[in-house]
Amino acid sequence: MKPLRKKKLLIKAGATLVLAAAISTGITFARDPNVKEASAEMKWGFKAARRGYWQEALMRFEHANELTPNQPRILNNIAVAQEANGRYEMALLTYQEGLSLAPNNSALRRNYTRFQEFYASYIAPPEIADDKGGGDAQKDN
């Protein structure tokens, strides 16, 4: 492939990416202003989490959940933040709530499986026998 052609292709792909993102975001935000605010809270929460400010992250994710309830991606982040804040019982319930809404959400399932292994090993060995999220326990929990 010639370099010019390759460059054109990359520009096209990039433009499509931006366009698709803009359209999907625009449509969603135009429909409900809460979605826009929830998305901003998720971003802030993620940034806080990356810096290790898990209480701030949890607060942001919970606010996002209040704005747009029953979103598996938000519930996933809440559960992770609850884990990081040592609220293991609540994290367990949040994971289960998220999985009841989206049983096939791969991130939720993976996190829940890892959490289950941790929970069973360190918190309450016999109580967590039923596997609601499914999947085999992974070595790296």
Binding site: L9, T16, A20, S24, M42, E83, A107, R114, Y122
Partner: protein, 230 residues
């Protein structure tokens, strides 16, 4: 024609990337409370470490070596990792029974340890170690890919490693009350068949170390989780 296909594929990949969920893997530290709420100023006595072989088996030299090594290991992690104040080892400690369950019923024994050594807590254990270092032949089924028939063949089987059965207890010396019990049963396989060194058998047991330390001090476990970025 080919270029068009590549372009189309690239666009589809780009759209798929937008539509797919944007998760990032993050590392978090999960904090665990200790099993015992210690202040860190308590005096801890380690012992006795009893040998309790399995039913029908006698005490072997490996059990005695293992018990000694376990005591050294236990003292090391309690001092280094849990940073507890350990009372110096007493070689003249003579428990009235070699059965830990029976000793737990004997409150006077633990009170005596307190009186003689000033211990607040006593960490005692019973241990049974079995060295599995054997090889032999066994018969297994084999379905031939040539004719699909089932045959039986002799297979060499090697079983090598250490099998542990440890019961660790923490007793309040003042009352003789059992505060915590930890049953540790594990099998540690080794790649080499020939086992000559028993002395370093505990050194690589991270799980055991982690569990033991976790009884006395808070600890953190590092885990990975997927987090949505927006």
């Amino acid at each position: 024609m080919r270029r068009r296909t590549i372009e189309l594929l690239a666009i589809l990949v780009a759209i798929a990337a937008v539509c797919s969920a944007g998760t990032r893997e993050v590392r978090i530290e999960l904090h665990l409370d200790p099993e015992l709420p210690l202040e860190g100023t308590e005096n801890v006595f380690v012992g006795p470490i009893l040998i309790e072989p399995r039913e029908g088996e006698s005490v072997q030299s490996v059990d005695m070596t293992a018990a000694k090594e376990f005591e050294i290991f236990l003292r090391k992690i309690l001092r280094r990792d849990a940073q507890l104040h350990l009372i110096p080892k007493r070689d003249d400690l003579r428990p009235p029974s070699n059965n830990l369950a029976a000793l737990l019923q004997d409150a006077d024994f633990w009170k005596t340890i307190r009186e003689e050594n000033g211990a607040d807590y006593v960490v005692a254990a019973s241990i049974d170690v079995k060295v599995l270092d054997r090889a032999g032949y066994t018969t297994e089924e084999y379905v031939s890919p040539q004719d699909g028939k089932t045959y039986f063949r002799q297979v060499m089987v090697e079983e090598t490693g250490f099998s542990y059965d440890i019961l660790l207890v923490v007793v309040e010396a003042e009352t003789g009350k059992l505060l915590h019990r930890e049953q540790i049963t594990d099998f540690q396989p080794k790649s080499e068949r020939k086992l000559e060194e028993y002395t370093d058998m505990f050194t690589d047991l991270y799980t055991l170390q982690n569990r033991l330390v976790g009884i006395f001090v808070p600890r953190a476990v590092q885990v990975k989780r997927a987090l949505y970025a927006d």
